[in-house]
């Protein structure tokens, strides 16, 4: 009964990321798309949050949004997905929580 949390806002001007991380359970998924992929920038405060502690969730990001912003996500163990894979993830998890 796990949840896929979808974030779309930049971590620098929204509390989405920290609030989302606080209520995620083990086995949940975190999908970053749009400006939210800025959280993958190595050394950023948001990336520290993603790396901090033991990660008990799966981290995904929309590949085209990562590439478009020239972000090197290699330092974080993130699974880059395209739109069809994004859709498949939405189906795989019991529910989808899309943060606004």
């Amino acid at each position: 009964m796990t949840t896929l949390h979808v974030l779309n806002a930049s971590p620098s001007n929204a509390a989405q990321l920290s609030s989302c991380l606080r209520l995620m359970s083990a086995g949940d998924g975190l999908m970053l798309c749009g400006e939210a992929v800025q959280a993958l920038r190595d050394g950023s405060a948001a990336a520290q949050q993603l790396l901090g502690g033991e990660r008990a969730y799966q981290l995904y990001a929309l590949e085209e949004d990562v590439l478009a912003r020239g972000i090197d996500a290699a330092a974080l163990s993130v699974t880059l997905v395209d739109y069809p894979a994004f859709v498949a993830l939405c189906v795989d998890y019991a529910r989808v929580n899309s943060w606004t």
């Binding site: 509390a15 609030s19 606080r22 529910r95 899309s98 606004t100």
Partner: protein, 119 residues
Amino acid sequence: MAKSVLLISRHAPWAGSDAGEALDIALAAGAFDLPLSILFMDDGVLQLLEQQLPRMLEQKDLSANLQALPMFGIEQLYVAQQCLNLRGLGDSCLAIAAERLDDQHIQQLLRQYDYVVTL
């Protein structure tokens, strides 16, 4: 069996239309007997405070809608205790009765619903 919904309301009542729209979702769900609970978190907790004058900002007063929730069959209101604490409202008296939950109980809460809608 109707699918259950947890609505997470994260926005202040006087900052745009999100808080009002979240309440509209709740009232519509209630009108259709959909099992729905609301969790107030982040700035959404500010919706529960007393003595607000949204008309000063030409915003709609949501408190009447909040008071009406039980009439629409929405009995379960939750509020994130840590979000109250962060805003200096840890022990504040809330205008609307809501059960205070810590993060761990919120994690459990999410798993109990078929759908989660965050606004």
